[in-house]
């Protein structure tokens, strides 16, 4: 392993400590990751924009602050991959769409602002399904990202670029957004930790809206502690987001360090299992539950009968909100404009612009939303879906009366081959089967790696769901699982990822 390899395989917590102690400079750290991106991104295609000079400037600023004796935050100097759905005043923001190709926003999102204030070094903007609609990054107008475990497979989505970057050691930290599972699902299929905080726990200001009542920014990392550290950096009340919760950030870092589940009541969700789940996913999930019991947790089976209706409700609610939110892309004030020949009307130009600028999935969802909201269908579709949302929230409330957290597989299957589901929307939607309930109810959920499926050698995620603003509880469970599995295995799971090692020639730790 070269010196550069040793740098990039450290955890974010270790990197921050090394920077704070003066053992390495933030500039060295940024340069090592930028070099890694230069070497590997031709294969992984995680980034839409790499901000080399901006990143190095930000890193040098951290080094100057340290030299001046200023106090540094717990992630100062650590590089990060930012999903291209957050506005950045010094980098383009495209949302993976042709309609915003090259758009340079005039302001920073709150998440961006908080990362910068914490001294986190943003390396660039990562690929995503167009406007966060998808589960594979194949809906990006700029081509799919690839899974570092197997470059022929998807890295999940919609935050697949951030996940691929973190799994390929291009950055130790990634930020994604989770509307129906878009952080947890790519986390699971790339062998990472992916967190959807409680809705309203992290700000949506400057996050280009897909479905406003569901969209939640959160971390994608290689360890539970790194996720907790990043969670605390980006969270907290933001007066610029009217749905931001004015409440203390749950103590997630302390919970990740505690990593103790003794006496904790863990509920296995009956409905998130069975037909349609890969055998290897169920096997690893079952072992994770047994491990929790061995670690002192009390296991119970809990039924959430309305979870079976979460997927259909979501595919009415999210498209309805998207059909309204995406009306802003009209080619008048920013972005693409097509057909403005001096004779065409504004409405004609809008229709031509949107037809040329949006990809098929975005068009499908906008029209599905228009359908669900139209008079005559509203009560039967959107209205019923909102009632299902109430029933799912009630299921969660009843479950959390009996247990402290709920667990399930994060995804029904491991990463699927690129191209397999791209023109089969219903097959693609099934990837979010287990993650959607927490979005509809707004509570917190995390995915943590729990091994590889024997049939394909690909990562499986364990999902842990906690009540609203009890995010710390799920970190406690995730950290306990991570510590126990790492100890049993003798190395982190990601060390077994072969796809990227095969093309770059870098040997993984387990392969030495």
């Amino acid at each position: 392993m070269t010196a550069a390899d040793e740098l990039i395989t450290m955890t974010a917590a270790q990197m921050a400590q090394a920077v704070a102690a003066g053992e390495i400079s933030a500039a060295e750290l940024a340069a090592a990751h930028l070099d890694r991106i230069a070497q590997t991104d031709v294969h992984v295609r995680a980034f839409l924009h790499v901000a080399r000079e901006t990143a190095l400037t930000a890193a040098r600023a951290v080094d100057r602050r340290r030299a001046a004796g200023e106090p540094l935050g717990p992630l100062a100097g650590v590089p990060l991959a930012l999903k291209d759905v957050f506005t950045t005043a010094d980098m383009p923001t495209t949302c993976g769409s042709k309609i915003l190709a090259g758009w340079q926003p005039p302001y920073d999102a709150t998440v961006t602002t908080r990362l910068r204030a914490a001294g986190v070094v943003i390396l660039g903007k990562t690929n995503m399904d167009e406007f966060a609609m998808g589960s594979s990054t194949e809906n990006s107008a700029f081509g799919p990202s690839r899974n570092p475990w197997d470059l022929g497979r998807v890295p999940g989505g919609s935050s697949g670029g951030s996940a691929a970057a973190v799994a390929a050691y291009q950055a130790p930290l990634g930020i994604g957004t989770d509307t129906g599972g878009s952080i947890r699902q790519p986390g699971a299929v790339c062998g990472l930790v992916g967190v959807k905080p409680t809705y309203g726990g992290s700000s949506r200001y400057g996050l280009v809206a897909f479905a406003s009542s569901l969209d939640t920014p959160g971390p994608l990392t290689r360890t539970v502690l790194d996720a907790a550290l990043l969670h605390e950096v980006i969270s907290g009340h933001d007066p610029r987001d009217s749905t931001s919760l004015d409440a203390p950030v749950p103590p997630v870092v302390a919970a990740a360090r505690a990593a103790d589940v003794a006496g904790l009541r863990v509920g296995v969700v009956t409905e998130l299992s069975g037909e349609g789940y890969a055998s290897g996913v169920l096997a690893r999930f079952g072992e994770a539950v047994e491990l929790l019991e061995a670690l002192g947790a009390k296991i119970a089976e809990v039924s959430c009968p309305h979870f079976d209706y979460a997927l259909p409700a979501y595919y009415l609610i999210a498209p309805s909100e998207c059909s309204s939110n995406l009306a802003r892309f009209d080619g008048m004030r920013y972005g693409l404009r097509v057909g403005d020949d001096g004779t065409a009307s504004a409405e004609e130009v809008m229709s031509l612009t949107r037809a040329a600028g949006f990809g098929p999935e975005v068009k499908r969802r906008i029209m599905l939303g228009a359908y669900a909201l139209s008079s005559g269908y509203y009560d039967a579709y959107y209205g019923k879906a909102q009632q299902v949302r109430t029933l799912i929230a009630r299921d969660f409330a009843a479950a959390f009366d009996q247990v402290d957290v709920l667990v399930s597989p994060t995804t029904p299957t491991t990463a699927f081959p690129i191209g397999e589901r791209v023109d089969d929307p219903m097959a693609m939607y099934l990837a979010d089967l287990c993650t959607i309930p927490a979005n509809l109810a707004g509570n917190a959920a995390i995915s943590v790696p729990c091994g590889l499926a024997p049939e394909d050698g690909l990562p499986v995620g364990l999902q842990i769901m906690a009540p609203v603003l009890a995010d710390d509880r799920m970190y406690r469970v995730a950290a306990a699982i991570e510590a126990a599995l790492d100890q049993r295995r003798g190395h982190p799971l990601l060390a077994e990822a072969r796809g990227i090692a095969a093309v770059t020639g870098t040997e993984s730790e387990a392969g030495r």
């Binding site: 005039p106 749905t243 209706y309 009306a327 404009r337 504004a346 359908y371 909102q386 009632q387 707004g442």
Partner: protein, 100 residues
């Protein structure tokens, strides 16, 4: 409520409402796919009863206020910097009324 299958004409209507100038082949393809999706999501009608209140939002918040503070605006130059067309410090847009 029984569901009627979605027709190509209905999809053309949705495309007009959505300001999407779709081609004939797109209309065909989307009609088939939307029919399958709408058939699947119609399952929500199996469970929801009249006495269940709707949930519109995950966070239980209403009437959120903040102090009405004056902050510096974006400024003309920044606002127009990414405009597809600008003229005399304004967004230039296509005509909005018909000729006749």
């Amino acid at each position: 409520m029984a569901r009627v299958s979605i027709t190509r004409d209905e999809v053309a209507h949705l495309a007009r409402l959505s300001r999407l100038a779709l081609t004939d082949s797109e209309l065909e393809h989307f009609a088939e796919q939307l029919d399958v999706i709408i058939g699947a999501v119609a399952r929500v009608q199996e469970v929801a009863a009249v006495d269940i209140p709707p949930t519109t939002h995950a966070a239980d918040l209403s009437n959120v206020f903040r102090d009405d503070l004056v902050v510096p605006p974006l400024g003309t130059q920044a606002a127009l910097a990414q405009a597809p067309a600008a003229e005399q410090d304004r967004f230039r847009v296509p005509r909005i009324l018909a000729e006749d």
